[in-house]
Symmetry: C2
Subunit: 385 residues, 2 copies
């Protein structure tokens, strides 16, 4: 009985499984103290400088940088997989005009899985090929949602464009210039994986019952939707919109500090140093907001960063990845409600890679709860209640 008894009564445990080890992984590593992030051994600064989202996705899925022919082959597969079945478009037509864009994305991927006759094949080859297909199709679905929200028809993918340029094209209906496409590509690289974050963990937990890749990714989207996770970059933008202009930043931050208002886009459960992704995005934000005539957004954010670090930097409160991404997407003319779907268009590579890694040596996730309720209640017939 002793081994069971630990699950009754009250116990010490880590709320939110903080610090609890759930698995081993070779996917990536976050060193929160040093402010370091690596994917498959490669520092995020190197990948942001030299790699592309396509190459980084290959790296995350297969554990190594591709040769030229491997990359060509991978990119060709992505192009071939961009189109989604008409049933997915029809389902999006039903929901996407009015629904939360992440509820639409969740629905689109769920329908995609429902239409795939190979969804139940549990081989790692099939998980991998669905993973590649979803990296391609997540962008198409997010693009279609963007269009339906504007009351427009989806834009067909253009096979001549690379993944990210095509994604921007499917959202905006216009082909982006090279620098704009590159900045978005870097943002997708930076968001692709991040240790055992809540959406990745959600995907893995669902996958561990040997459900299927679509079910796992649907759960990842469902989790990323939350205000404590992917929704955070949207809240940064709402905060900047509320502040309004750079000259109002100081007073707003002083008031937020005095009234202990939550500062969106600052602090992270893992990072106690500067989030390396914020360093990179901050630099790009400065250049790209200027190029798109929205330097005001960067100026507000930068002023806010300086004020907050002066107040809280010693306590390990720094901007996180969500702080600058929104200024960039806004400069591109993208509606704030679409920021989290863009996050998903990137994070799919990490979700797929970690799901494949986990199910290869799968073990069902089934923790315990400590039972703190009554043990021997007697059923009372209705007449005596």
């Amino acid at each position: 009985m002793a081994e069971q008894k630990q699950f009754v009564g009250q116990a010490e445990f880590a709320k939110g499984l903080e610090g609890v080890i759930a698995c081993e992984s070779t996917m990536g590593y976050v060193d929160g103290k040093e402010g370091k992030l690596i994917y498959r051994g490669y520092d995020i600064f190197e990948l942001a400088e030299h790699s592309t989202f396509e190459e980084t996705s290959y790296l995350l899925l297969f554990g190594k940088l591709p040769s030229q022919s491997e990359l060509d082959d991978f990119k060709q597969k992505l192009v071939q997989q961009r189109a989604v079945p008409k049933e997915v478009i029809n389902a999006l037509k039903i929901v996407a005009k009015t629904a939360h864009p992440m509820a639409s994305l969740r629905t689109g991927v769920s329908v995609l899985g429902a239409m795939d006759k190979n969804a139940e094949d549990e081989s790692i080859e099939n998980y991998t090929s669905i993973g590649i297909s979803l990296i391609a199709k997540m962008a198409t679905i997010a693009g279609a949602i963007t269009r339906f929200r504007k009351g427009k028809k989806p834009v067909d993918p253009d096979p001549k464009l690379d993944h990210t340029a095509n994604f921007l094209y499917m959202m905006n209906g216009q082909k982006p210039d090279d620098y704009t496409a590159r900045v978005m590509d870097v943002s997708l690289i930076l968001h692709a994986d991040h240790g055992m974050n809540a959406s990745t963990f959600s995907s893995m937990v669902v996958a561990s019952s040997m459900s299927d890749m679509y079910s796992a990714i649907t759960a990842g989207i469902a989790s990323l939707k939350g205000s404590l996770h992917g929704g955070a970059n949207e809240q940064v933008m709402h905060m900047l919109d509320e502040i309004g202009s750079v000259d109002k930043v100081d007073a707003w931050v002083d008031d937020a500090i005095a009234t202990k208002k939550k500062l969106m886009g600052f602090g992270h459960r893992v990072y106690k140093a500067y989030d390396p992704r914020a360093t990179i995005l901050g630099e790009y934000s400065q250049k790209i907001t200027e190029a798109h005539g929205r330097k005001d957004l960067y100026d507000m954010a930068k002023r806010m960063e300086d004020k907050v670090i002066a107040a809280y930097g010693e306590r390990g409160i720094f901007p996180n990845v969500d702080f600058y991404s929104g200024t960039i997407y806004s400069a591109f003319g993208i509606e704030t409600a679409l920021f989290t779907p863009i996050f998903a268009v990137s994070r799919i590579s990490g979700w797929a890679g970690r799901v494949i890694e986990y199910v290869t040596e799968n073990r069902l996730f089934r923790p315990r709860a400590v039972y703190t309720g009554e043990m021997e209640a007697k059923y009372v017939p209705m007449a005596q209640r």
Copy 2:
């Protein structure tokens, strides 16, 4: 650095978080050694004997047995909430004829969430009211899926019928007799909650990012779909179909033991004694299969149980809840592929109750992975690979 270092290299940890405590709960308790299951303090044998699925759902959501007026009010709410928006039916029309029924159910609930303008309200009152709505609507969606698979139109709910009788009516198009409805009701009671099982945990993990109730339940369905979880009762039925008749059971089991074939519906990670749910369902199976002229199913299962317990009982291998449920549903003429959706129609009460309990004192689930990959890979330009 020391506190970070534990996340690099190799570490001892519990695979699948087995035995790890994820939270406290007053929802229910599984004593695997004693073969005991309680909901909110009430023994499952008492609930199966005296309660109804509606009353048990109230108990799970609100932590106490309802008074007559509370139960009347709750039942009335369930009746009022049965109808689903036409958009949900339209989406099911797209997928349900051919898709895995759990992929259809996952899609139906996702669309339901996409259409609910109150989905983002984070109040506990709203979580509760969506929970009640989903208890009602899960049955309607599962009923519609059943009908679409047969190429028929969904059956409108009948407000004069109780929840479970109406559910059978929406699946079969015929009103069940009282005993049939009661046996199904008991089965729904028995499947409604079971500690921190994988689908419940999936729902809670997704809810913990403060996504929304529909996202959480979509993830629960996605997880329950897996062959290691809800799919197990379908596999029991396939196994019985494969055996074919009671006289072939002995040879089949002997062969399975000799070749170490997996015996579906036996053993459980938590129960090392007889699963109380299997005790109750076994008794009902005997009676109801006879009433529906399918005693052959019970006879095969019972013979198999005796053989397997003789061989493995000492090692704690007994029938689990999945072993007899399928014989009952088959006797009702329900297609094997619908068994897991029926499980979901019941488990929604546990999912909703535990999600509400968790988000009331929410903490984002974010465990760690131990990084076992390379630490300092140097990016090699393409030309040099």
